[in-house]
Symmetry: C2
């Protein structure tokens, strides 16, 4: 009953479905168990497959993690990017925090920190990390920054706001169940207050 397209299950369908299952299981494992305990056994158990499937589609676990990171990147940050035309800094903060505060972002932080210490995986994962950082790193290729970067103070505040939100995200990641810090809203309100100062200037 379930699969209406059950008959058209081509090889390439099986492949991409399996890969998506493994990617989802990887991210969830990173959130639940952290980087060190995200093993091939753990990921495959969550996906309901054997390690044979993983090693068929990916060269190694770090290779899978790298793909999972890029996938999360696209899904979380690029998909819903606000139009750069007439956005205020306050609106940008609201948008950015709505992304960074997602549970999936803990997976990103885990990878940032832990993969750096893992020589077996750093070669695979580092390129994906660099891609990730671009969106928050002001540069000419970043349309949002071009909007704010012209003004010196706005540019400095842009970078400050990013670091503040990363600090809050780190606090969530280090908290038992990823719960928000008590003073999270206070910090965000203060950040928005500073943003409005610049917006109304």
């Amino acid at each position: 009953m379930a699969a209406t397209s059950a008959r058209a299950r081509t090889q390439s369908d099986r492949s991409s479905e399996m890969q998506q299952k493994l990617i989802a299981a990887t991210i969830q494992s990173l959130i639940d168990k952290g980087y060190a305990r995200t093993t091939a056994v753990e990921v495959c158990a969550r996906a309901g497959v054997t390690r044979g499937a993983l090693f068929h589609h990916f060269e190694s676990l770090p290779a899978l993690i790298a793909v999972a990171l890029s996938d999360t990147y696209d899904r979380l940050l690029l998909g819903s990017r606000p139009s750069e035309a007439d956005i205020t800094i306050e609106q940008w903060i609201t948008w950015a925090w709505s992304r960074v505060s997602q549970r999936q972002f803990k997976a990103v932080i885990e990878i940032w920190l832990a993969s750096r210490n893992d020589p077996e995986s750093t070669a695979d994962i580092q390129p994906a990390i660099e891609r990730y950082k671009e969106i928050f790193t002001p540069s000419e290729s970043n349309p949002l920054y071009k909007r704010f970067g012209s003004d010196k103070k706005a540019g400095a505040f842009y970078r400050l706001a990013v670091e503040t939100m990363l600090g809050l995200a780190l606090g969530r990641a280090a908290n038992p169940n990823g719960a928000a810090l008590d003073h999270e809203q206070i910090v965000l309100d203060q950040l928005c207050a500073y943003a409005r100062e610049i917006d109304t200037q």
Copy 2:
């Protein structure tokens, strides 16, 4: 030539010297190799002793890490706390960053994030983590906060500044050799600018 007090090496001397050696090796391993690769084997190799020594003085590796964390806490943060009498917020930021920017702080972040995911160690380490957070968490027991917390805006900024510095510290920890981010100084300058606004109010 080295040890002038070579003759007075009592048992308790040997113990505390060994414990200090193990603590130092643990912190350095956390900085160099991260939490997951800080094993009992690794720590003992750095300290130049066998695992027998470690397990003689500490119940387990997590227990040693917990002690190392508390030790770093005292050394890094409590030792040089500024006098709360007439400090400005800008001075406080300068002091706090001079602490958080130390390489040893990467060890703290590693523990914050990774030990949470390690059920074997969380019972040992969590109490030490709680101790750590107090100094940055505004509360009645925190003399620095009492100085700023009376003013609502100053209190909000205090918390914001902490999160911003933690974000910068995370960036350093995730960087190859713990190098500073390119825009670190820009963010700190902006933070100080906001601090002066409140100080001169």
